[in-house]
């Protein structure tokens, strides 16, 4: 899939180190949402930045690198999910929440208790892959419907339906008794 089209605010020449520092945490989180495991997400994000390193010298100077990274990460996660080994590995393990990071809790983090957070992550992991991709890109990455449709090669109507089903399932999980 081709990287997203150029925009007026495009970076002229990518500073790979700066991109790595500013985007790595976001890409790891994005991959974790798509794969359901932070360890796997770390590995995939390394692959993504390796691809950036290879692609940067010959790339179009008008490329939007954060969007490019997101698209490449989504595709890399899809490849990882398709591997038979990953399907077995994922199916045989329970999702557990990592220890809280050492940094101070933000207000929204403090407001959401661990059980709710766990419930949400588990509900996200149970979504079909396409719904999960649409939900994450649309609501977490704040892409527009048209951008999501272009990146995932779907029609805008299909994106809206996937999004609705994803939101419906996730809301259902929130209302389910704990």
């Amino acid at each position: 899939m081709a990287p997203p089209a150029a925009s007026p605010v495009a970076d002229q020449s990518p500073d790979i180190d700066q991109l790595y520092r500013s985007q790595r945490a976001r890409i790891v989180r994005l991959c974790t949402m798509l794969l359901g495991d932070a360890g796997e997400a770390e590995e995939v994000s390394q692959e993504v930045f390796l691809k950036l390193h290879r692609a940067a010298p010959d790339a179009d100077p008008t490329t939007r690198w954060p969007a490019w990274l997101t698209t490449v990460a989504v595709n890399a996660c899809r490849d990882r999910r398709r591997s038979r080994w990953f399907r077995w590995w994922r199916g045989s393990r329970e999702l557990i929440e990592a220890e809280h990071a050492a940094d101070g809790a933000s207000p929204e983090r403090a407001a959401i208790d661990a059980a709710t957070r766990r419930q949400i992550w588990q509900a996200l992991a149970r979504l079909p892959a396409r719904q999960r991709e649409v939900f994450v890109l649309r609501h977490i990455e704040s892409w527009s419907t048209a951008e999501v449709a272009a990146a995932l090669q779907l029609t805008p109507g299909t994106v809206k339906r996937h999004l609705f089903r994803a939101v419906h399932s996730l809301r259902g999980a929130l209302k389910a008794p704990r």
């Binding site: 989180r29 045989s92 329970e94 977490i140």
Partner: protein, 162 residues
């Protein structure tokens, strides 16, 4: 007033993709305004839970072997046993023993010659027709003990003198 929008339209509206009709309706209908508010609250909760906070990891495996590997070992063992059985059945009776005897005799001759070689060179002792020399050597005796006509006291020198 237009009819209340369905959940799909309301979800699109909450995500910023709503049409003008839905937008107008939600402004006028208290029930739909409450639906939209609840939906937005849930979306905010979902966003906050996923976009911040600790990342989940998967725990230890419930089953340490992947399904394929679980069956691979017993299947491989069964296949090997089947192959061995088929090979044994395909072999004509008596074909194994003579070949093995001939190999054993050759081995015996070589080992005997190496064990009882003289200072001048190898194989001054004439190889025995059968595996007597090897059997004698393995039993801790001298090769002459394995031959008819030699006494228990015969030794290496006796053999070399012949």
């Amino acid at each position: 007033m237009t009819p209340c929008p369905d959940d799909l339209s309301l979800c699109a509206h909450a995500s910023g993709d709503g049409d003008a009709l839905t937008r107008t309706h939600v402004r006028q209908c208290l029930r739909c305004a409450a639906r939209l508010q609840a939906l937005r609250a849930d979306l905010t909760l979902l966003h906050d839970a996923l976009a911040s906070g600790p990342l989940p990891r998967r725990g230890p495996a419930r089953d340490p072997w992947p399904p394929a590997a679980r069956w691979a070992m017993p299947l491989a063992a069964a296949a090997l046993a089947l192959l061995a059985f088929a090979w044994w059945r395909a072999m004509p009776a008596g074909t194994v023993a003579p070949a093995a005897t001939a190999q054993f005799a050759d081995l015996g001759n070589e080992v005997g010659a190496a064990l009882f070689a003289s200072r001048e060179g190898f194989s001054t002792v004439e190889p025995l027709a059968d595996h007597e020399m090897l059997a004698a050597a393995l039993n801790g005796g001298l090769p002459c003990e394995a031959r008819a006509g030699f006494g228990a006291r015969c030794d290496y020198a006796d053999l070399l003198d012949q």
